[in-house]
Amino acid sequence: MPKRGYFGVSFYVVVGFLAVFFVLLVTGFVIGPLGRSLFGDLGLPAWLIVPRPVPELPAEVVFHLFGFPVTNSIIGAWLTMLFLVVFAYVITRRMKIVPGRLQSAFESLLGWLYHLCQRVAGEENGRRFFPVVATIFLFVAFNAWLSLIPGFGSIMVTTADGHHVHLLRGANTDINMPLALALISFVFVEYFGLQSLGFHYLGKFLNIGQFLRSIGQIVRGRVRDGMIGMFTGLIHIFVGCLEALSEFIRIVSFTFRLFGNMTAGEILLLITAFLVPWVFAIPFYGLELLVGFVQALIFGGLTLVFLTLAVVHHGEQGAGD
């Protein structure tokens, strides 16, 4: 046992590690574009120079399957799906009451999500929402983390028509995936709302009950009450329109929140790796791990909240009363 230890290794190992890290950092700074602009070209070999990254917003098509464009983001999504399904299958194939290490890690992740759902939406609804929320969470998180694996974005392939494209790309950095997730979230929110409340659910958006009643009052001669009621009814209709609008704005905000964060993270990593090559990007990788988790939690959590809101009975706003 060493007398002075840091992080479980001896003092000299730590010092050596820090020295190597520092040398890599300084060298990276010098040979990077920042260093070159400061010190001029030092005549370094070409393989040390990192090429300027070209971030592209639209995903590139890798190949066509029966005339259907398969982009690298779709392949990334497949990879994430494959990973999740195989991982889950291997773990749950032989479930034990007293779990092993891997099983308990997986179970505690799912159990955490499950109890989150139950805490927010209640016992019964939490059970119904859990698969949707968990799928969104798992997909967003693992897709983000998988695309952080070094080498994920650097596999290049040549397409049939001669372009060099990336084979893999984090699906969430292609706007189609966040949009797809947002649409799925939207569909499930409306589905559960309709399923739980039936016709009353639509009354939240088409809030014309008060307006019609006040027209009735005017016809029956109570003009003063009718006019006030009509004003309130108009406000209700307006609020209903806002509610309906907000459902669609949610899709947009869902989409662009995830897309923006993931794309920005990707570009941030590319830029840091380009400006100061090698070790400088490591803290940003850590940051992106956190961002992936947070975005997954936000997407899943907001979906959960919207689902919960959709199944809550709006007694005083319903069309029936």
Partner: protein, 169 residues
């Protein structure tokens, strides 16, 4: 649609991704959520069961403890009672013995007293007889004439009786 296409929105890809997520949802439901939920339910059921069991065992233990305490208390009470009774009996025995001893002493004393009285009476009688005989003898000597012994005797007895009666009065 130029702006949206620049962002990369592309209907076939969008549909593909929606399908992907739907497939993922279905597959994960089969291989992850259903078994895990079942496992969680099972585990919470077991935990609840074992908690209930522990509760009942605890209750039983408390019950048994109470029972033991009660029995101990009863035993102690019984023992106490026995001791008290024994002490009482001992006391009684002692008192009886004392009483008996006292009575025996009393009897003995009384008898002794009687004996003494009788002895004294006898002695007095003896002395009196002796005195009478002596008196007669002396008187005979004095008078020199033997009186009729029997008449004389009667005379002395009468005198003595008188004197005794007078003394008693």
């Amino acid at each position: 649609m130029g702006g949206l296409a620049d962002l990369g929105i592309n209907l076939p890809v969008l549909v593909a991704q929606i399908v992907n997520v739907a497939i993922l949802l279905g597959l994960l439901y089969l291989v992850a959520y259903r078994p895990v939920m079942r496992m969680l339910d099972e585990r919470s059921r077991r935990v609840k069961e074992s908690m209930a069991q522990a509760e009942s065992i605890k209750e039983q233990a408390a019950h048994a403890e109470e029972e033991v305490k009660k029995q101990l208390e009863a035993a102690s009470r019984e023992g106490q009672g026995k001791i008290t009774r024994a002490v009482q009996t001992g006391e009684e025995v002692k008192q009886k013995a004392q009483e008996e001893a006292r009575q025996a002493t009393e009897t003995l004393l009384t008898r002794a007293r009687h004996e003494i009285q009788r002895e004294r009476d006898e002695a007095i009688e003896e002395v009196r007889k002796e005195v009478a005989d002596l008196t007669i003898m002396v008187a005979g000597k004095v008078i020199d004439r033997s009186l009729d012994k029997k008449a004389h005797r009667q005379l002395i007895d009468r005198v003595l009786e008188e004197s005794t009666r007078r003394k008693k009065k």
